[in-house]
Amino acid sequence: MSDNGYTRPELVCPAGTPAALKTAVDAGADAVYCGLQNATNARNFPGLNFTPAELEQSLAYAHSRQAKLLLAVNTFPPAGQFDLWRDAVDLAAKLNVDAVIVGDIGVADYAAQTYPNLRLHLSVQAGASSPEAIRFYCQAFAVKRVVLPRILTVAEIAELHREVPCEIEAFIFGNIGMMAEGRCSLTNYTTGVSTNMDGVCSPAADVRYEEDEDRTLTTKLGPFVVDRFACGENAGYPTICKGRYRCSSNPSGYYAFEEPVSLNLSALLPDLMRAGVTALKIEGRQRSRAYVKAVVSAFRKAVDDIMAGHEPALANLLALTEGHRETQGAFCSKAWR
């Protein structure tokens, strides 16, 4: 603990590829999280993630620089296909990763029963949003840390911290979905690919950009129009929960769920650290190495500044947020709801 009452938090950073992992570790990540090249993790995108050999090499690299490696096995195996998830947990145990991030009750049970010494973190995909839900997972599977859904205010996090027997990890930066994680089938409804079972939200193969004669750009997911942009407007990637729709009270169209913004809690960092958050998580396994380097470096410096009693400088992070627009989401005030 520092002189000013803060406990040093762990900075948990995204690693979509072995190269990004090195970048994150070199930029000052205390821990990196990554996934295997299949449906066992929630960022199952082409060109992303790790082979077992890459995972082993990356683990050695992280450990040689005192960084931890967390493996996300956080999707939901459909019955009949459990073996793929079992193999992922077996590999994690064999390689001795620092923790496995699980979302499914079956996967958590398998890991807890088979490898009692394997550290388990509860993924945000499990949607444990109350002290009671978190206690259930702690009792059932000896979960050591919970990754909180991005729907709680800082005040609620502080209160929750006092009521749960495990560490708390909170998202501080990156893409923010509007729906409770692990409880959204909008992509499957639209495309036939499931976020929970296949690890994919808004798959690129189903995305269309169509420009008309006025150069208005229409973005689609499957057959459904998600948004439209006039010539010159900054067009976002079509994600259903950030699209514009019409309803009886908004006949000309509105962002029914949320505007295309990114989460940026840099201004709330001291509050989160005081609220008892053990680990600060940066989203973005799908992002470039340059992005990872910029964001991780900035937050590394900010956390160190706060610990040293200095004012952190984080203004430059806005340039990295989606469409250059940011939000504190639910964290600042209940009025977000």
Partner: protein, 310 residues
């Protein structure tokens, strides 16, 4: 393999109906609908719960007197203090059988007989077996599960003391959020909503910017625009080991819907006859069955198309 009697069940009313309408709906279900179990309770919004609480006892009594099993379905998204209080009240009231829709309910229900709802994400054999070990007697599967996974899961629990339930009718829950989208659509927030969701008894329809109907909003919940209809698939679901077939209530004639599904179970109606009857009910949106075939959920497939993978 253990033979299990098949039956139709009625899921909780998801929408904010007028309390008297809500009560009268259940009274009529008690008196007229051929369903074995009825789920009641507010599963979407803790702010709405006090509107219906005065009627719980009378409704539960009328239903059980009519021979229907009453199950209280718990809140799906538990975040605020009010949410937590509501979830705890329901789960610790020992006189009711409760269906758990989130982890906080499981904490209170473990060790005694209970149901597990579709929001609990039971996708596989191991999750099902674990929850059976904690006291689950019935598991309702997630809306998006394809037939192949339904089959594998049902087979795996054949020797356990648990029944498998799937939704076969009504709008499908696609997402939950902490934010109230009904309030947002009217420029309000969850705290200042003034119960604006009461004006949409089947949900608020969202259309795409080119006018295509897409989704339906119900407070913090997002539902399909289309109505799920698995009448053609019902015999196959029975063969797979599913024994309880859930109807999700809408403002159309649910007694008739229940009679049609029960007619197929009792083999009084062929699935083709039943399908024609369901068409004549004129639901507010077309029918869909895509998830069952591993296809986009909004889509409709005939049995032959679905199986050939088109």
């Amino acid at each position: 393999m253990q033979e299990r009697a098949s039956s139709v069940t009625l899921g909780p009313v998801l929408f904010n109906w007028q309390p008297d309408t809500w009560r009268d709906f259940y009274f009529r279900i008690a008196d007229e609908a051929p369903v074995s179990a009825v789920y009641i309770g507010e599963t979407i919004c803790s702010k709405r719960a006090p509107l219906f609480e005065p009627h719980y006892e009378a409704v539960a009594e009328r239903l059980s007197s009519a021979g229907k099993t009453v199950v209280f379905s718990s809140l799906s998204e538990v975040v605020s203090r009010l949410d937590r209080k509501l979830a705890e009240q329901i789960c610790t009231a020992e006189k009711y059988l409760v269906e758990a829709n989130d982890g906080s309910a499981l904490l209170n229900l473990q060790g005694r007989p209970h149901h597990v709802g579709s929001q609990m994400n039971v996708y596989n054999e191991r999750a099902a077996a674990f929850l059976v070990g904690k006291g689950a007697k019935n598991i309702c599967l997630p809306a998006e599960m394809p037939a192949s996974a339904i089959a594998a899961l049902s087979q795996s629990v054949q020797d356990l003391n648990v029944t498998i339930e799937v939704q076969v009718f009504g709008r499908q829950s696609l997402a939950l959020s902490a934010r109230c989208y009904h309030a947002r659509a009217h420029g309000r927030t969850k705290d200042s909503c003034r119960f604006v969701c009461e004006i949409d008894p089947d949900g608020l329809e969202l259309r795409t910017l080119d006018g295509r109907p897409f989704l339906a909003i119900n407070g913090v919940q997002t539902l399909s625009y289309e109505y799920l209809n698995l009448i053609h698939e019902l015999p196959m679901l029975r063969n797979l080991g599913v024994s309880r077939f859930r109807l999700s209530p809408h403002s159309l004639d649910m007694v008739k819907v229940a009679s049609i599904f029960a007619g197929v179970i009792d083999e009084r109606l062929s699935t083709d006859e039943a399908a024609v009857h369901l068409e004549t009910l004129n639901p507010a949106a077309p029918y869909a069955n895509g998830f069952y075939y591993g296809k986009p959920g909004y889509s409709w497939h005939s049995r032959e198309q679905g199986q050939s993978g088109q």
